[in-house]
């Protein structure tokens, strides 16, 4: 029990903080913070698998998150038949062309390994292929984007259940990770960080600007939900009865019938939003627990030992006959798939897909702060990091505002400095996160909950 004291204490404090938000701000806010904490925890677990288990830096988290989000759109949105008939053939044609281009390049690389003009062949076929693809795709793209641009203007999705898209999101991210891993995993650590970051930027800019795919910066709104809608809840009798029962005492205090009715209405509206968020929390919690069990099992399996051995000394592990390259690729794909899953969860939670919001600050660096703060190589630490940092990220604004007001009480309301500080309160979150990261890295380099390796004594 003593062994787990730290972990239990840290999580209880976190839970207490969220409950405090519920009491002082509102339960709806507390639950949305909790949901985002859970999503962040999943992302952090993905990054932690790569960094903590294998020592791979992946600054491309943003790209995998965006791909996960894209999967939600492509899977769950209803298809747009007009768009398909307008330009579907062209898109399918260019997809086939892209695949055959890749195959041709691979063929040249394999067949003419030592040929003098190999690189010229490849360059020529790529240039020719790109021109051909543009030629095929362009009319299709124009036709698709012209179909009711205010509402659709894209191909739509498959119209399947949204929960299925979480799996597809993970697969999308895994696919990208496979390609990135093939390209970049041989690089030195800091090169890898930069390369993954830039590749993620490419992915996001494609999602942002290819409107036929997912409407680009025009966003997709009103995505399907795996949980009931507030408006349905508010009209269903069982829910109203439930709320009435829960607030019996409060309602009985009111004497007039109309007051009672108004009060009940308000309570039902509040409760419906809380109920929806609770359902989401349940789903997310299930994912987090399943992942936690799997990752813990993996960490303490022979495979986990092998990964740690590779992380701690690549050459020695290689000399012992472990295939370092293959294991690195595998873990890169696994971690990225988890991040993709988190991306899909996030878009499902928001109910909208906004490619413009994928920025490296929020989706790469903050996630990394979570990993470092929580404790690398420790899944409980990673989850805690996700919770703590997200909580700070959201609540930093209000805390900063409170502190500013506290320290400038003696100043006049119209004092220029005070007004300026209050206006810039939201930016204190960067300061808190940054200082937090620096302090943790300096004084607790292994994070809040350090990695624990149990070595059984013989």
């Amino acid at each position: 029990m003593r062994k787990y004291f730290n972990i239990i204490a840290a999580y209880s404090i976190m839970l207490f903080l969220i409950i405090m938000v519920g009491i002082f701000q509102s339960w709806s806010i507390a639950l949305s913070i909790l949901n985002y904490c859970l999503i962040s925890a999943v992302m952090t677990m993905g990054a932690n698998i790569q960094w903590g288990y294998a020592g791979l830096i992946n600054f491309g988290i943003m790209g995998y998150t965006a791909l996960g989000g894209l999967a939600v759109v492509l899977v769950s949105v209803a298809p747009v038949p007009e768009a398909w008939s307008a330009g579907g053939l062209n898109i399918i044609g260019s997809l086939i062309l892209i695949i055959s281009l890749v195959l041709i390049v691979r063929f040249i690389l394999k067949k003419y390994k030592n040929h003098k003009y190999k690189n010229y062949f490849i360059t020529f076929s790529i240039i020719f292929g790109v021109i051909l693809i543009r030629f095929v795709a362009f009319p299709g793209i124009e036709a698709i984007e012209a179909v009711n641009p205010a509402k659709t203007g894209f191909l739509g999705g498959l119209g399947m259940p949204v929960l299925f898209s979480w799996i597809i999101g993970a697969f999308f991210a895994a696919g990208l990770a496979f390609i990135v891993g093939k390209i970049a995993l041989g690089l030195r650590a800091d090169y890898l960080a930069i390369a993954t970051l830039l590749i993620a930027e490419i992915v996001v800019s494609i999602i942002k600007h290819e409107d036929w795919l997912a409407r680009g910066v025009k966003n997709v709104i009103g995505l399907k939900r795996p949980v009931p809608y507030e408006i349905d809840l508010q009209t269903s009798p069982w829910f109203i009865n439930l709320v009435e029962k829960l607030h019996q005492g409060k309602l009985n205090l009111l004497s007039s019938v109309s007051d009672k009715k108004d009060m009940l209405n308000q309570l039902v509206i509040d409760a419906s939003s809380v109920y929806v968020k609770l359902c989401m929390t349940g789903l997310f919690l299930t994912v987090v627990i399943i992942l936690l069990i799997l990752t813990q099992k993996a960490l303490y399996s022979p495979w986990g030992r092998k990964m740690r051995a590779i992380r701690d000394n690549e050459e020695a592990a290689g000399a012992m006959g472990k295939n370092v390259v293959k294991e690195h690729l595998l873990i890169f794909i696994l971690g990225s798939a988890i991040v993709g899953l988190a991306g899909a969860m996030m878009v499902t939670n928001d109910g909208l897909f906004t490619p413009g919001s994928y920025r490296p600050m929020r989706y790469t660096f903050v996630i990394w702060v979570m990993v470092i703060v929580g404790g690398t190589g420790n899944n409980f630490g990673a989850i805690l990091g996700g919770f703590v940092v997200w909580f700070l990220w959201v609540e930093a604004g209000p805390i900063a505002l409170y502190l500013i007001n506290f320290f400038t009480t003696h100043l006049d309301e119209t004092n220029a400095l005070k007004v300026h500080l209050i206006e810039s309160a939201p930016y204190f979150r960067f300061l808190m996160i940054g200082v937090g990261l620096l302090v943790i890295m300096r004084y607790r380099p292994k994070g809040l909950i350090p990695e624990k390796i149990n070595v059984k004594k013989i």
Binding site: L187, A189, Y427, L431
Partner: protein, 340 residues
């Protein structure tokens, strides 16, 4: 005669819309890339706070420009920002030395892995970004004053009688001149002076350099001072040419990294050229050549479409793709060879 004119028009068109902007943008990137490369070469980590450090220096220039304007100090047709540059550089260097003393030094002395230093620089990035936003806010600001153009399109047309105009903005000329002065001084310093040589020695082989009596503290300090110059000047030039917005500066970090890696990280000459490679690639690939071909080709061949390889939305993506290609085929950069 007619054909010659057409050809001249086409050349002027390309000069005006691709070559001159690319040289300007390339110079700005090059300064940033040398900054990245110097830090990488001497202090041995990828500095993720690059964009924000440039932004930090520029912020001082912007604020001082506003102050100078309010008290009526200016330098005629040149932008006031040039006058504030020395002060801004000083502030930047002080900030960098402060950060180094309280943050980076600890990890340098304890010989941490480069990765750890890179993570620390992420922390510095957050803090710097916060300070910038708290002081000046996240908004778009213009601080360019003085003469806007050296050569206006209409003047050029009058002078030459061509139908295509050539514009040279004064910021473009200033960028080029300042870059040439700064970079040539830097290369002179690195190659000809004793301190520069000791820096190169330190970067090549730390232990040997220490053995031969080079003071590491001095080398590190000189590196940050040079970095302060590069960051502030690069940032101010970019801000004068476009505008000052903290978020854009943060984003500029990415093409700057691309330039540094394409040029072979750790190698300032490579970084300098890498800046131009990235800038030219971005602009040439996303430029619409329709008008160019209309000038050149006979009428029946004239294109209907824009003749644009990629839409301008993919400007950044182009430079990153170049980086990926370079990483695939020449991981040590195009201009590998001697380090610093």
């Amino acid at each position: 005669m007619e054909d010659n004119l057409e050809l001249l028009n086409a050349v002027i068109l390309l000069l005006n819309y691709t070559v001159i902007p690319a040289i300007t943008y390339g110079s700005q990137l090059a300064l940033g890339a040398i900054f990245v490369t110097l830090i990488y070469g001497v202090l041995r980590f990828a500095n993720f706070a690059t964009g924000d450090m440039m932004s930090f220096g520029t912020m001082f220039a912007v604020l001082l420009t506003y102050y100078f304007q309010s008290v009526g100090i200016g330098i005629g047709f040149l932008p006031t920002a040039l006058l504030t540059l020395p002060l801004a550089i000083l502030a930047m260097i002080l900030y960098m030395l402060f950060i180094d003393k309280f943050v980076f030094k600890y990890y340098r002395i304890s010989k941490s892995a480069p990765v750890q230093l890179a993570m620390v620089s992420v922390g510095v990035m957050f803090v710097t970004q916060a300070i910038i936003r708290i002081i000046i806010g996240p908004f778009d600001r213009r601080f360019m004053d003085g003469e806007k153009f050296i050569l206006k399109a209409s003047e050029f047309k009058e002078m030459t009688g061509l139908s295509e105009g050539l514009t040279i903005k004064s910021t473009q000329a200033i960028t080029l001149v300042v870059t040439i002065i700064l970079v040539s001084t830097l290369f002179w310093f690195l190659n000809k002076t004793k301190t520069g040589t000791s820096m190169r020695a330190y970067s090549d082989n730390e232990d040997l350099a220490l053995l031969s009596g080079i003071d590491p503290k001095k080398v590190v300090m000189i590196t940050w001072i040079i970095a302060g110059f590069l960051a502030t000047v690069g940032g101010v030039l970019y801000g004068l040419d476009k505008s000052y917005k903290p978020f854009v500066y943060f984003n500029n970090m990415l093409p700057i990294f691309a330039a540094a890696i394409v040029g072979g990280i750790g190698n300032p000459y490579g970084a300098f050229l890498g800046g131009y490679v990235i800038a030219f690639a971005e602009i040439l690939v996303t430029y619409a050549y329709k008008k160019f071909f209309i000038y050149l080709l006979p009428e029946f061949l004239e294109p209907d479409s824009l003749v644009q390889l990629l839409s301008t939305d993919y400007k950044f993506a182009v430079s990153f793709s170049i980086l990926v290609i370079v990483l695939l085929f020449r991981p040590s950069g195009i201009f590998e060879g001697k380090k610093i």
